[in-house]
């Protein structure tokens, strides 16, 4: 049975060079996703290396019939970052707010989207954002199904599309400190962009060798790749409008196609999960935030 949800591709969280970015968005244009959010969300220092690709990517995606929005930075502290944020409305694209700083620059009444890095935990917050102009909200990845259900219901009443983290290493934290630079014994201001060496983040294991986290510059991610392959039915039933797929460096078009087949009812969740596990960096899936004892847990069979 088809599920009444569509697919949104989130901004790329990692530092890829311009050619990789170009190839990625060209490939994405051919996939069955409904919309794409792009732009730099993690580190303002990366942007100059690939920002010239943005106009071309936007054009390619719009021509392919996708909705396109541009993201704000997740943590805005420097004057340069405040300027970047203030300039966003000038792009003419819908803005996905990933730090409330951006709200100051969006005129009252202009619609905007809210990303997963803004704390939308309850109906009161969703209502306030809707009144301010939010038309689409991707919920924080740590929310359990009961909260998702309550927020999706409120979203429907308010005319706000509610989206859930569908696939990808989960953004767990953002810091003033750059862990990539720290691991290379470099000060943040002289990082030499070492995060570019790890196109899906740098793995962090426990002292006992358990796979655990991944660092991506100032961001910390889960090492497992979250996947809603086995939860999509419950999410659709809860009233979720869209699944967010977060870019990874390899096989992303295949991944999008797999989720599209799942939503179309032509691929069972278990089969999709079996297909996804070997494609995930590190090979592990998780879905515990939605319905499990902890975020790292996986509801399906292991291995």
């Amino acid at each position: 049975m088809p599920l009444p949800m569509d697919l949104t591709v989130g901004p790329n969280l990692f530092f890829w060079d311009a050619e990789a970015v170009r190839a990625f968005y060209e490939g994405l244009a051919a996939t069955p996703v409904a919309r794409v959010v792009l732009g730099e969300v993690v580190c303002s220092k990366r942007l100059p290396f690939w920002q010239d690709e943005i106009p071309r990517a936007v054009e390619t995606l719009l021509e392919a019939g996708k909705e396109v929005a541009v993201t704000s930075l997740a943590l805005v502290t420097l004057p340069r970052e405040r300027r970047m944020t203030a300039d966003l409305p000038g792009t003419g694209l819908p803005i996905e707010v990933n730090d409330l700083t951006a709200l100051l620059h969006i005129p009252e009444g202009q619609p905007f989207w809210v990303g997963p890095l803004v704390n939308v935990y309850n109906e009161g917050t969703l209502r306030w954002l809707a009144a301010r102009g939010a038309t689409r909200v991707c919920l924080p990845p740590e929310l359990p199904l009961a909260s998702i259900r309550a927020l999706a219901r409120t979203g429907r009443d308010l005319g706000v599309a509610v989206e859930v983290w569908g696939h990808g290493r989960v953004p767990l934290a953002i810091s003033g400190r750059c862990y990539h630079a720290r691991l290379h014994d470099r000060p943040k201001d002289a990082c030499l962009f070492v995060c570019g060496e790890d196109p899906d983040g740098r793995d962090v294991e426990t002292l006992d060798g358990q796979p655990f986290l991944a660092v991506n510059g100032v961001q910390t991610l889960s090492q497992s790749t979250a996947s809603m392959a086995l939860q999509a039915g419950a999410l659709a039933e809860a009233g979720v409008a869209s699944l967010r797929l977060s870019p990874q460096s390899r096989d992303f078009a295949d991944i999008c196609a797999g989720y599209a087949d799942l939503l179309a009812g032509s691929l069972p969740g278990e089969a999709l999960a079996r297909r996804l596990a070997p494609l995930a960096p590190g090979g592990r899936l998780s879905d515990g935030f939605v319905n499990g004892p902890s975020g790292a847990a996986w509801s399906g069979p292991h291995g």
Partner: protein, 326 residues
């Protein structure tokens, strides 16, 4: 003089803080509405009212922290906390959630609103947004800023700023971290706990004390070495050929010697972390910082610091306040 804002996890700690010279005490109700929702800690409604009366009788203020993010479907619990803080006579509430701020501004307009560090408002635009939208009067700054950045922020805003000067140190932007729930299912934002004791297991393994959180090994401490909290972001991990504290060493913040610089940067209030600590900690730290802010206000040199034993890892850092930390 800069206002000294001191922690109290129990009525006894509140009295200890007031006696030791706190200008203001912050505390929370004994439920998930506050970010130190630990077993045996915090205030009943009656204790809060008595605590406020005691503080006021001794010239101190009480700020009530209601700084978790209300759970969908259960916002009433948080709304009641704001109403009960007002009727207990609190001088302000410390809030982080947009919806709760909107609720408080609409239904309790005369109750002073402070923005919790959990809201992570890290620049003048974000702070001005909270001030304009919700009438926030003071902002607790996230621990990701340098002293220079704090000074720049104060030039561009019209509300007071409060900064942490002592205690546990988050290395992540507060209120935007799900590391704890990834390992345990319980998080600061949702449950008011980080790396909760309920999910901690210690084991003596050979010559080491292993600490595990939700089954993940957080650190192994050799015999005789100082023991850190099993806090996830201060654990020792392996990444490639590197083994160590990937995120932060097990140290805590002591910015005593930065008090003059923070005063010059326009900071209104200094905050001490540690509502989960004992009244012995509260009394000692508050006494030390009261002497320091008095010395600073009078233009005297700061007294020598003596708080090392109370700090995690028994070592202190000035954290993000110095740029090199990043």
């Amino acid at each position: 003089m800069m206002e000294l804002v001191c922690p109290a996890g129990t009525p006894a700690a509140l009295r200890a803080a007031v006696q030791a010279g706190a200008h203001a005490v912050y505390c929370g109700f004994a439920d998930e509405t506050n970010a130190r929702n630990f077993p045996g800690l915090n205030f009943s409604r009656e204790e809060m009212a008595a605590g406020v009366a005691h503080a006021h009788a001794n010239g101190a203020k009480v700020l009530v922290a209601i700084n978790t993010f209300p759970r969908a479907g259960s916002e009433d619990l948080w709304h009641r906390a704001v109403a009960d803080a007002e009727s207990a006579g609190a001088d302000a509430v410390i809030l982080a959630d947009l919806g709760l701020l909107a609720h408080a501004a609409e239904h309790h307009p005369r109750l002073r609103r402070h923005l919790s560090v959990q809201a992570a408002a890290a620049n003048p635009d974000a702070i001005n947004f909270y001030a304009e939208a919700f009438g926030v009067r003071r902002v607790v700054l996230p621990r990701v800023l340098t002293v220079e950045e704090i000074a720049a922020i104060n030039r561009d805003i019209d509300v007071e700023t409060e900064v942490f000067v002592f205690g546990g140190l988050c290395v992540m932007a507060e209120g935007r971290c799900s590391l704890s729930s990834y390992a345990t299912g319980r998080s600061p934002n949702m449950n008011g706990v980080c790396s909760p004791a309920s999910h901690v297991a210690y084991a003596e393994e050979g010559d080491e004390l292993a600490a595990r959180l939700g089954g993940f090994t957080i650190h192994r401490t050799p015999k005789g070495a100082p023991a850190p909290y099993p806090t996830l972001c201060k654990g020792a991990f392996v990444s490639g050929d590197q083994t160590g504290h990937v995120f932060e060493d097990p140290v805590s913040l002591d910015a005593t010697r930065l008090i003059p610089a923070l005063a010059k940067a326009g900071v209104s209030a200094l905050k001490i972390e540690g509502r989960q600590r004992s009244r012995a900690y509260v009394a000692e730290v508050v006494r030390s910082f009261r002497a320091a802010v008095e010395a600073q206000a009078a233009g005297r040199p700061l007294p020598e610091a003596t708080l090392a034993k109370l700090t995690e890892g028994q070592a202190a850092t000035t954290g993000a306040y110095a740029k090199i930390w990043r």
